[in-house]
Amino acid sequence: MEHRTLAGDGLPALIDELIKKGMRVIAPTQRNGDLAFGQVSSSAEAVLDYFLCKRSAKEIVFPRTEAILGFDRSGGEVKVEPPSMQFPETVVVGARPCDAASLPILDHIFTWDCDDELFTRRREATTVIGLTCTTADNFCFCTSVGLSPDNTAGSDILLTQLEDGQFFVEVVTDKGEKLAAELGELFREGGDESARQKAGEKARALVTRSVDVSKAKGWLDDHFDDEMWESWMTCLGCGACTFVCPTCHCFDIVDEVQGLSGHRCKNWDACTFWHFTVHASGHNPRDVQYKRYRQRILHKFRYYKDRFGVTLCTGCGRCSRHCPVGIDIAEVLETAAGSAAS
């Protein structure tokens, strides 16, 4: 696709122009001392000189809670109301490549045997403008899962800041092309490709952690039972890792009732919770914590890969950063890969 350069004063002008055109713009923004993806009403509210938001971008298309239907039996009969499927045209500005890449990974599960329309309609209404990374830490390992800090996966348009401060624009998808056409003069024709290459190399060099994920998978394939898992029994059984994760997607369907009316809701759930697999009989096949943690790893690096051909992880490192007991997912994979070698 064609390359362009962001004109004017760069990102602020882009955000303000999108808002002016009536689009809902979501960007990293400071809310009560916490940086999170949220709707902004002007470029001044967006924080784009950032590392990562604590919470991932998945909730833009997969909210923490949402009603899949409403019900009301106050009139005697049960009235059922389907959810609204009207989603405003939304542009996400400044998603890091590990956040953007989670969206096409999630497409597999949400369109697998049937369309989860609440997901797919939101997804259709959302255009993603990614932003190449300028920082990384020891928990970042995107380059080990086939991505990189300047990867275009999941972005409809990717912006990369060049050494001279200008933003190089890569239009990646048709959706991106459509948005670029609407933005017209903001995207100036032509771009310094060699400077883009240089910025990409610099970004990729930021990620120093390297794990042989395919070797780890080879080990995971036939080590469902192994004492390695027991070494992670320090896992506390919270859902912090799964809830900050851009690709964890489990949810529970529950009725939330107030009086005679209420909503049937799709609420985030986590395989690390003890009650995730409790049967009605009381039996729990994952009876101790390390088995629940094992499920998280196997789902990401074995089952999802086997079923859909992609790994359910973008290497963002959030789970490791936020784990209350310092369990580092890359280290778990390193251990698995190391065991495969011996």
Partner: protein
């Protein structure tokens, strides 16, 4: 300092006095961070460390909520004075008896939870709030002590954080907590890291009936966070683990301290100092004031 700890741990394991040592070890990818480790082999005691980045309150592994750890056998636990307060509370609540475990106390001058403030050493500025008026820098009970005894900090808890909150109007306080709880993702890291959240089935996990909605919306988030705070009143030892582990940075310890202050003022009681003390909310006396019951 870590060496002394390792020697004690080795001896306990070799003599068979304990089967597992619950301690802290370095995180490989970030040696400035530590995490809980379970050492069962005397040859692996070299992994144990003790430094101001040993923030986890390991008492959580002594509760019935972590029964798989107890299945390893009798435990020795490495504990700071504030962690020992949690152990004291658990003994008071009859979760285990003092003889059931070996306490390897560590003399502590403070810890640093916020990694971004850590520059390789503990300072007046980077230490945790709870360390600024710590009266248990030498644990109040232990079987072995690592390091020399440290006198308490010469400053009493001034409740400054709580008083600032109390100065707000009820409406402002309501708005403040609504804003904080709005971003709660209901991951229950606060609960899972808490030594006193040891219920085998938390009210938040009950579904018949469902007392607290699992949806992450203001109504449910408020219900969850208030209920947890109330369940900890008079029990919480203010170790601050809930606040430290919260992935979205909700100041949960402020809420706990608000209640701890109420209990201190109304009952003259601070949790975690005396395992024989009658717990204020679990003790019935005929002469208790009942005038408020109408």
């Amino acid at each position: 300092m870590s060496k002394g700890l390792q020697d004690i741990a080795r001896e306990l394991l070799e003599k068979g006095e304990v089967q597992v040592v619950v301690g802290w070890g370095a995180v490989k990818a970030d040696p400035d961070r530590t995490r809980p480790i379970l050492v069962t082999d005397p040859d692996e005691v070299g992994e144990l460390v003790w430094n101001p980045r040993c923030v986890n309150n390991l008492a959580v592994y002594l509760t019935k909520a972590k029964s798989d750890v107890q299945a390893l056998g009798k435990a020795a636990i490495v504990a700071k004075g504030c962690d020992v307060k949690a152990i004291t509370g658990l003994i008071q609540e009859m979760q285990f008896s003092r003889d059931d475990l070996v306490i390897i106390g560590v003399a502590c001058k403070g810890v640093v939870s916020d990694g971004s403030l850590w520059q390789g050493e503990l300072t007046e500025e980077n230490r945790d709030l709870k360390c600024r008026f710590c009266d248990v820098r030498t644990p109040r009970t232990y079987d072995h002590l690592v390091g020399e005894e440290v006198p308490p900090v010469d400053a009493e808890d001034d409740w400054k954080d709580v008083r600032e909150l109390e100065e707000k109007t009820p409406r402002e306080r309501w708005d403040y907590w609504q804003e904080q709880f709005e971003r709660c993702i209901r991951c229950y890291a606060c609960r899972q890291a808490c030594p006193f959240c040891y219920c085998t089935r938390c009210i938040a996990d009950k579904t018949l009936p469902r007392w607290i909605e699992s949806g992450q919306h203001p109504r449910a988030n408020l219900a969850w966070n208030i209920i947890r705070a109330m369940h900890l009143a008079g029990r919480c030892v203010e170790c601050g683990e809930c606040e430290r582990v919260c992935p979205v940075g909700i100041p949960l310890n402020l809420l706990n301290r608000e209640l701890a202050k109420e209990v201190a003022v109304e009952y003259g009681y601070r949790a975690g100092y005396d395992s024989e003390a009658p717990p204020p909310f679990a003790t019935y006396r005929e002469e208790d004031d009942q005038s408020f019951i109408r």
